[in-house]
């Protein structure tokens, strides 16, 4: 078990490291010329250009830029720009010249927002999806089951953002079913926080819940035909116990696996959510950075997202190993 976790973490770290190296090379020594992007088209004087080059250390050799950037992540560094010295604290992921703030600070500010959106939705769609899917599998062939199967097939075919857009247009703006309150930090006012996130959660949750109901149903149908479920029935256990303690428990492992694979997609989903419902999270930060050509922020977001995904996947693997003792003890 311990060796397994260590190996998982080591593999994860290697992935994060490679993402960092690739994105570094892409931006800073590729033909991308970040200084022009940062400088912008208007009032970009040669002296400002040189200033930016110097502040990004683009005038130094590649190896030096590289070590500077990476040591910055672990020790922090100073960034010189236009005669000013800017402190970039650990973990320093660079400096946004458009917002004139360290990238790490921008990300950390937005992080709770994105986590609120994603985690809340995840809680909704996993509980809802698993419950509906399990019930459908138990009552396989019933009207409800068939309704779920055919409707979820159609619902999951709808692009997520179109559903969200329609909900935003018709539920908040045209018919005002949901409040338009925007994001409020949880620590400020939990009720406002909840109200503001209700619709994003509902939409993200509903779309994913149909998908997870399908997965759970399939996994559960398979589990119900397993020999050990027959044994559980042969013992004379109550149907509830057979279904939930025996079949569902076995089926859950494959749902957890799918959840791990879906995390990246879920993160993408939050970007749409943030844009459509105007929630100021990480996704919107990255999108704005794209519009402004704010390369250090894009790069920081990419690294941060991959770090997050790798970490979450390790967590999922550990959860999985607790679900399945064969992995834990094997």
């Amino acid at each position: 078990m311990f060796g397994y976790v260590i190996r998982r973490v080591a593999a994860g770290l290697s992935v994060v490291l490679v993402v960092m190296v690739i994105s570094f090379f892409l931006f800073f020594i590729g033909p991308a010329k970040p200084e022009y992007a940062i400088c912008g088209d208007r009032n970009c004087t040669p002296s400002r250009l040189a200033d930016i080059r110097a502040s990004l250390s683009l005038d130094k050799p590649v190896s030096e830029q590289f070590t500077e950037y990476f040591s910055g992540i672990f020790t922090g560094r100073e960034i010189h720009s236009g005669g000013f010295v800017k402190e970039c604290d650990v973990p320093c992921l660079g400096w946004s010249f458009i917002r004139n703030e360290p990238v790490t600070k921008l990300i950390v500010e937005r992080l709770p927002v994105t986590i609120s959106v994603a985690l809340g939705a995840m809680v909704i769609f996993t509980t809802l999806g698993v419950t509906i899917g399990a019930l459908a599998a138990i009552h396989r062939g019933s009207i409800w089951d068939r309704a779920l199967v055919s409707s979820s097939l159609i619902l999951t075919s709808f692009p997520y953002y179109l559903v969200a857009l329609l909900a935003a247009i018709y539920l908040t703006i045209q018919f005002e079913v949901f409040p338009r309150s925007g994001y409020h930090p949880l620590t400020d006012n939990p009720w406002e926080w909840f109200k503001g996130l209700l619709l994003p959660w509902a939409v993200l949750g509903a779309v994913y819940a149909t998908a997870y109901a399908r997965y759970t149903r399939a996994a559960m149908v398979e589990a119900l035909s397993e020999d050990f479920v027959r044994t559980a029935r042969a013992k004379g256990l109550s149907p509830r116990r057979v279904h939930f303690r025996h079949a569902l428990r076995a089926g859950l492992t494959s749902v957890v696996t799918i959840l791990g694979l879906d995390l990246a997609g879920l993160l993408a989903g939050t970007i749409f959510t943030e844009r459509i419902f105007e929630v100021q999270g990480l996704g919107l930060l990255a999108l704005n950075a794209f519009d402004n050509g704010d390369l250090p922020v894009i790069m920081g977001s990419v690294m941060y997202a991959s770090f997050l995904l790798v970490g979450l996947n390790i967590v999922i693997d550990i959860v999985y190993s607790f679900l399945d003792p064969r992995v834990r003890l094997g």
């Binding site: 062939g141 397993e226 020999d227 050990f228 027959r230 044994t231 559980a232 029935r233 042969a234 013992k235 004379g236 256990l237 109550s238 149907p239 116990r241 025996h246 428990r249 076995a250 679900l323 399945d324 003792p325 064969r326 003890l329 094997g330």
Partner: protein, 350 residues
């Protein structure tokens, strides 16, 4: 026991009568079991023999109420101490399952839940039918693991199935089946997935346990050797029907049905002349959807052509009393099977 009916002394402990199980499928109706009847008494063992697809497992699943209720059409009666298990409601059936009747299966690895400890799974079976604390159930689980010969039961009780060997898993399955002192134990191919030395251990164990608890056992297998060593009575199934039924000793030494002859003379032995050729049954078992007309065995039966008219092709033979003592039944048109047996079969099976 939860059975409240007064037990009539004339009544057999388990009486299966005209049990028929059919599964409608898109390709047609599968005639899994047709008009099957047999009795089992406490302290005795019935062996049900047949090849794959002969309906031997389906019939016992029906006794346990474990057949797919939505798909299966079931008729006839299964009287356990007078209670008809075909009619009984789900809740009552659940209280009988694992309590009065329990079952062990062919593949112990897939039959145990991979995520729970052996002890958990045995305790769960105990708690389902007894008001007891978890500690008491655990104590009972250890007690039974010891009884079925698991060394260091007190420690192994917390192991997961994958940490057990194949033989130990089957012992654990037996412990689970016995936790509520059942009166009837159904063993469905209990040793098919096991090695021969482990098979011997498990068969020994089953016999010891039967001697100790006096329960009735139904053992379902395709292995005639296992039946010969374990069963008092033997029922031979072919294409969902009983073709021969009687005392094991008689049926396995002097059978009257050509299918039983075929089974006996197609298997090689550990003694006798090894150079003697095997005599297989030609062809393969019929599809249960399109059963042959008349006697289901006629396309494979070498003796069908010896009868003057097309009786075997046209007429389903009745299950009639045979010549091997009381209770011997055989489903065959042959008027004098012993003539054929003595001349042609006995020399082959030795």
């Amino acid at each position: 026991m939860s059975m409240n009916e007064t037990t009539n002394s004339q009544q057999p402990f388990l009486a299966v009568e005209d049990l028929t199980v059919r599964f409608p499928t898109p390709d047609g109706v599968v005639n899994a079991v047709t008009e099957l009847s047999y009795n089992v008494e406490l302290g005795r063992t019935l062996g049900i023999v047949g090849e794959s697809g002969s309906g031997k497992s389906v019939s016992s699943m029906a006794i346990m109420g474990l057949h797919d209720r939505r798909r299966a059409k079931i008729s006839g009666s299964i009287r356990l101490q007078g209670t008809d298990l075909v009619d009984v409601d789900d809740d009552r059936m659940r209280r009988i399952r694992g309590n009065v009747v329990s079952m062990i299966f062919q593949d112990p690895l897939s039959s145990l839940h991979p995520f729970y400890t052996i002890g958990d799974q045995i305790s769960e079976a105990y708690l389902a039918h007894n008001k007891a604390s978890k500690a008491q159930a655990r104590k009972r689980a250890i007690e039974l693991l010891e009884r079925v010969g698991i060394p260091q039961a007190g420690r192994r009780v917390d192991d997961y199935p994958h940490q057990f060997s194949g033989g130990m898993r089957q012992r654990a399955m037996i412990a689970m089946a016995l936790v509520n002192d059942p009166q009837l134990l159904i063993a469905d191919e209990p040793t098919t997935a096991l090695d021969v030395t482990v098979q011997a251990q498990i068969l020994d164990l089953l016999q010891d346990l039967q001697r100790e608890f006096g329960s009735a056992i139904i053992i379902i297998t395709h292995d005639l050797g296992v039946v010969a060593e374990m069963a008092d009575d033997v029922l031979v199934m072919y294409a969902g029907r009983c073709v021969e039924y009687g005392k094991g000793k008689e049926i396995l030494t002097r059978p009257e049905h050509p299918y039983t002859w075929g089974l006996l003379s197609s298997a090689p032995h550990l003694t006798g002349d090894p150079g003697q050729p095997l005599t297989p049954i030609k062809g393969s078992p019929p599809s249960l959807v399109n059963l042959p007309s008349g006697c289901s065995f006629h396309p494979r039966c070498p003796y069908a052509s010896r009868l003057p008219d097309d009786r075997c092709v046209e007429l389903l033979p009745e299950l009639r009393p045979g010549g091997r003592g009381a209770g011997h039944l055989v489903r065959c048109h042959l008027p004098n099977p012993d003539e054929i047996f003595v001349d042609e079969i006995q020399p082959r099976i030795g």
